[in-house]
């Protein structure tokens, strides 16, 4: 029985670890921290696996755990920690030009308050419904709606700022 559960968990973790890490990266903006958050999430999921699997809400549990781990991490006082066992990930421009957009997105997301960022990532990136997002963040659906609206407006403003600045420079 335990082996079956491990096998199911292995299959799930193997399939979802990449997606979870990408979500974590959008939340925290740091690949190393994203990996730690993903690890925390999957370890907690493993502990709760029999219960969560029976309830058939594995994805929802994983998303909620990831977001809570991210929010908890932000509350810690000892912010000197930034595990970098191997290498800092230095951005390298890609020839397609997409790098600039991604950098802008990461920077703009980083300027949103943590909970607002979580709402935007869950709604727009992970494609969760309002109800699912509210459950993951343990808040009301009204809060999700207002935070999404404000978050997207702020993101738009932040993302369009550099473009406007460039345009203005070009006009002169």
């Amino acid at each position: 029985m335990a082996e079956d559960a491990d096998s199911d968990f292995s299959a799930y973790a193997g399939a979802r670890v990449g997606a979870l890490r990408r979500s974590a990266y959008l939340l925290c903006g740091d690949w190393h921290k994203a990996e730690d958050l993903t690890q925390t999430t999957l370890v907690k999921l493993y502990v709760a696996w029999p219960r969560v699997q029976r309830a058939e809400r594995v994805d929802a549990y994983a998303r909620a755990t990831l977001v809570r781990a991210f929010l908890d991490d932000g509350r810690r006082r000892w912010r000197g920690e930034r595990p970098t066992r191997d290498l800092p990930d230095l951005p390298t421009p890609d020839p397609s030009g997409g790098w600039s957009d991604r950098l802008d997105l990461a920077r703009a997301l980083a300027r949103l308050p943590a909970r607002m960022r979580a709402v935007v990532v869950l709604r727009c990136w992970d494609d969760l419904s309002i109800a699912e997002t509210a459950r993951a963040l343990d808040c009301s659906e009204g809060t999700v709606k207002s935070q999404t609206s404000r978050g997207l407006a702020l993101l738009r403003q932040l993302l369009e700022e550099p473009a406007r600045a460039t345009q203005t420079e070009g006009d002169h």
Binding site: F9, E35, T38, Q39, G80, D101, R102, D104, T148, R156
Partner: protein
């Protein structure tokens, strides 16, 4: 992307750009399962500790741990000179000093004993700047300046160092479980010390130096400059037995960050971090800073 949302076109374009090139994933499923099992065992133990019988048992174990501490490895001898990290001329780490007690390393170790052992090792190995003192970081786990067990595995220590030049921060991590994934007969497993693949230095980067010594030990040094004059020096040592020690020093103190919900970015409080690269290297090379799986 959510279809029921009115996403502004600029945001949509940025979201479609994705997250870009991803660094290699270091998490392995066997490692996650091993950590999950430990977490589950710990949880069961905490539940069990609620009963009176278990309380007395825990008391007995604690007493035993205290007694064992006096003979634990790493409690004797002073640290190496920070200015002279012990590397032989051939570039191979020197064998352990003969002053090290000839006690075989334990296969497993309870966290209470490990944190006490690592505290003592840090006391001996840490060379503070003249006039420097260690300061507990507000809000650190257990309210301690010493080592603590991290739920993700391994032991960590976070402390501020304050000397006449200002406040700085030191973060140390000792871990032995984050090993590469080994594939044996088509099955992916967590590597054992014997099957651990040789370390390979990452691709060259301007702020990184990496050395692999004759015995297979890999030491990497990164020097990062961040916003507001913050400098971050990190030295990590990955040992052939799977142990790894990482030390990061910053030129700002964690206590200086205001305790608010979303604190602002840190600002440099001294010209350079409180420990030099040589001191950090000596620290991570100290054999007393070692991890044994918890039991």
């Amino acid at each position: 992307m959510s279809s029921d949302l009115d996403i502004p076109s600029s945001v949509l374009a940025a979201l479609r750009g994705g997250v870009g090139e991803e660094p290699p994933l270091r998490l392995t499923v066997p490692d996650l399962i091993a950590r999950g099992r430990r977490a589950r065992r710990g949880r069961q133990l905490r539940h069990a500790a609620g009963s009176l019988a278990t309380v007395s048992l825990v008391g007995g174990v604690a007493a035993t741990s205290v007694a064992v501490l006096h003979s634990s490895p790493g409690t004797g001898g002073g640290g190496r000179s920070a200015a002279q990290p012990s590397r032989s001329a051939s570039g191979s780490p020197t064998p352990q000093s003969s002053a090290e007690p000839a006690v075989p390393p334990p296969a497993t170790e309870p966290p209470a004993r490990a944190t006490a052992r690592l505290d003592r090792a840090l006391d001996a190995a840490l060379r503070l700047p003249p006039g420097g003192r260690r300061v507990r970081v507000t809000g650190s786990p257990d309210g301690r300046a010493g080592a603590f067990y991290a739920s993700q595995g391994g032991y960590k220590s976070v402390l501020d160092i304050v000397d006449p030049a200002g406040a700085g921060n030191l973060f140390i991590e000792v871990d032995g479980t984050r090993r590469a994934s080994c594939r044996t007969a088509g099955t992916e497993t967590t590597c054992t010390a014997d099957s651990l693949p040789a370390y390979q230095c990452p691709a060259p980067q301007p702020n990184l130096s990496c050395t692999i010594f004759a015995d297979g030990t890999m030491v990497t040094v990164t020097r990062q400059s961040e916003a507001h004059g913050v400098i971050r020096w990190t030295v990590s040592e990955a040992r052939p037995d799977g142990n790894s020690v990482l030390a990061t020093a910053l030129n700002y103190g964690a206590n200086s960050v205001p305790q608010v919900k979303n604190p602002p970015d840190p600002v440099a409080q001294r010209p350079t971090p409180p420990l030099t690269i040589a001191q950090l290297t000596a620290l991570v090379h100290d054999p007393r800073l070692a991890y044994y799986p918890r039991n």
